[in-house]
């Protein structure tokens, strides 16, 4: 079930009414209702995987109980290994069989493995819960229902953001305040997300990115250039849209998720980019992989650079078993290490220096995204060859170029723009606010192409 669809609008209407009614009349039943809603949301993709989702939730809860406050490190390791094993089976079983077992000369059947939607996100949350409870950074949860609602909560289930237990579980322990719902800000986030997804991301995808990456040899240099820039804008508008909408829908139900994207393309260094891009994953990788597992920057400078590279390469491979993802991570790891060596994390002084650093940062990110999007290295080579083969560029239109420019321009709007819009909406009575949000929603739906493409990060 995708957010920008009629069936989700119907689903959310039922959940909104049921949730707030239960908060008012029978708060003890509300978490059961939310769990049912979460599973119904997930069942639209796969009924079978709902059982697996519950199993992972109960596993997480049980490991948390056994290992809480440093009681059992062995239980924690078994818990984390079991969760990672579950994730690895779905993501890498076939790659392992075909690329390693088969090459060693052993029989290697191709498994019919379907990747469950959102598996990475709920597994990462499960791991963070187990580790945080063991280390005393989060309270152990004795009620399995709360852990299940936390892991399966439908706004973040399919593509994040990754919400930490210490942030979410306290919100479940007390009923949300039915007298204070942040409707205007939630509406701004949802509409902003819809605008990015429906108008910018979908049109860039269908108009230039997908056709060019499918067959680069049929396109001219300017088509390829726009497709490469366009994908960078598309993936931001697609992924940040999902996060914004997830945050907005959660807020309408009285729950808070942290911000996941903070105008990432205005960064003037790679380290700043990663503080602004997919914040919940980059902080997850920093806390659980870079610092806890690899030791962070507590060792020698060489060791720190290795840790940076290892974190980014593993972050790349997490996206899938493909050389292109590995190289995407390696480019970011190498760039971060070079930046650290050159002292590039300090903010540049002077407009010229800022512009130069912004150009370098943006283009490293953009070129790495070309690898990320390409299905294989042959496609990357074909894209590079297409830049000089002299074919006419017939797919570029002013509309597509303007959409790409718009997707970049929104990074340079005032960071507090949403608060400013909210201030304008604040005096409106509820019916007028509803009408304003409804008309804006309709305008966005009219401006975008018909149909809704799945969100890019559903595949991870």
């Amino acid at each position: 079930m995708l957010f920008p669809t009629g069936i989700f609008a119907l689903f959310f209407a039922v959940v909104f009414l049921g949730h707030w009614t239960l908060v008012r009349v029978r708060p003890s039943l509300d978490r059961w209702f939310l769990l049912g809603a979460n599973l119904a949301f997930y069942a639209f993709w796969s009924v079978e995987f709902c059982a697996a989702l519950i199993a992972v939730g109960l596993w997480t809860w049980g490991v948390g109980l056994i290992s809480a406050k440093g009681r059992s490190r062995v239980a924690l390791w078994i818990g984390v290994a079991g969760t990672l094993g579950w994730l690895f089976y779905f993501k890498y079983a076939n790659f392992f069989l075909q690329e390693i077992v088969a090459r060693l000369g052993f029989p290697a059947p191709i498994l019919d493995v379907v990747l469950p939607v959102g598996i990475s996100f709920y597994c990462f949350q499960a791991i963070s819960y187990m580790v945080d409870v063991h280390d005393g950074d989060a309270e152990v949860e004795t009620n399995p229902l709360n852990v299940l609602v936390y892991l399966t909560f439908f706004p973040h289930l399919a593509a994040g953001p990754i919400v930490r237990a210490a942030h979410f579980l306290p919100q479940l322990r007390v009923p949300p305040d039915r007298y204070r719902i942040p409707v205007a800000m939630a509406g701004i986030l949802i509409l902003g997300g819809l605008l990015k997804k429906m108008v910018i991301a979908n049109e860039l995808a269908t108009g230039i990115v997908d056709p060019v990456f499918r067959d680069p040899t049929a396109y001219g240099a300017w088509d390829i250039v726009l497709a490469c820039y366009g994908y960078t804008i598309q993936i931001f508008c697609d992924f940040s849209a999902y996060s914004d909408m997830a945050i907005g829908f959660a807020a309408l139900l009285g729950f808070h998720f942290p911000k996941n994207f903070d105008q990432p393309f205005r960064a003037v260094s790679l380290s700043e980019f990663w503080r602004r891009w997919h914040i919940s994953l980059s902080t997850w990788l920093r806390d659980y992989l870079y610092i806890r597992t690899l030791g962070g920057n507590r060792g020698s400078e060489a060791r720190t650079r290795f840790n940076l590279m290892a974190t980014m390469v593993l972050g790349g491979i997490w996206h899938g078993a493909n050389w292109t993802f590995l190289l995407w991570g390696a480019i970011h790891g190498a760039a971060l290490a070079v930046e650290r060596a050159l002292g590039g994390r300090a903010r540049p002084v002077g407009k010229g220096a800022i512009l130069l650093r912004w150009l370098i940062t943006f283009h490293v990110v953009m070129l790495a995204f070309v690898l990320f999007r390409a299905p294989d290295l042959g496609t990357v080579a074909a894209l590079a060859a297409g830049l000089v083969d002299g074919l006419p560029s017939e797919a570029v239109t002013w509309r597509l170029a303007a959409l790409a420019a718009l997707g970049l321009a929104i990074h340079f709007l005032p960071p507090d723009l949403r608060e400013r819009i909210e201030d304008r909406l604040r005096p409106l009575p509820a019916p007028v606010l509803g009408a304003a949000l409804g008309l804006a929603l309709l305008a966005i739906l009219l401006a975008g192409p018909e149909g809704v493409a799945p969100f890019i990060y559903f595949q991870f």
């Binding site: 009629g6 204070r180 909210e422």
Partner: protein, 99 residues
């Protein structure tokens, strides 16, 4: 509270991280929220009446499907009589300029 909008004005954020929500975020009671969302849904129902008919045609054949299709068609016919779908179609064509 973890929800910034539930904290008293002036409360320092617990996490030094960017956030769209703050103690100054405007809130309303659930009845007001419900009223606002009902209006959003009504506007959607009016603006997407043709898509609703298409969705109804795609429903599996079950008891009640015929009635749903009839309601969707009736709703769309009523709106067509006042020219709303046609007007929105014209707006969509204008917005599709250059596509």
């Amino acid at each position: 509270m973890q929800q910034p909008w539930l904290n008293p004005p002036g409360t320092e954020p617990s996490r030094r991280a960017p956030d769209d929500f703050s103690p100054a975020t405007a809130t309303m009671p659930w009845r007001g929220a419900l009223l606002a969302l009902v209006l959003v849904w009504l506007i959607l129902l009016a603006g997407r009446s043709e898509a609703i008919v298409d969705a109804a045609y795609g429903l599996p054949v079950l008891p009640g499907t015929e009635a749903l299709i009839a309601v969707a068609e009736g709703w769309n016919d009523a709106l067509s009589a006042i020219g709303l779908p046609q007007a929105l179609k014209a707006v969509r064509e204008v917005l599709a300029t250059g596509r």
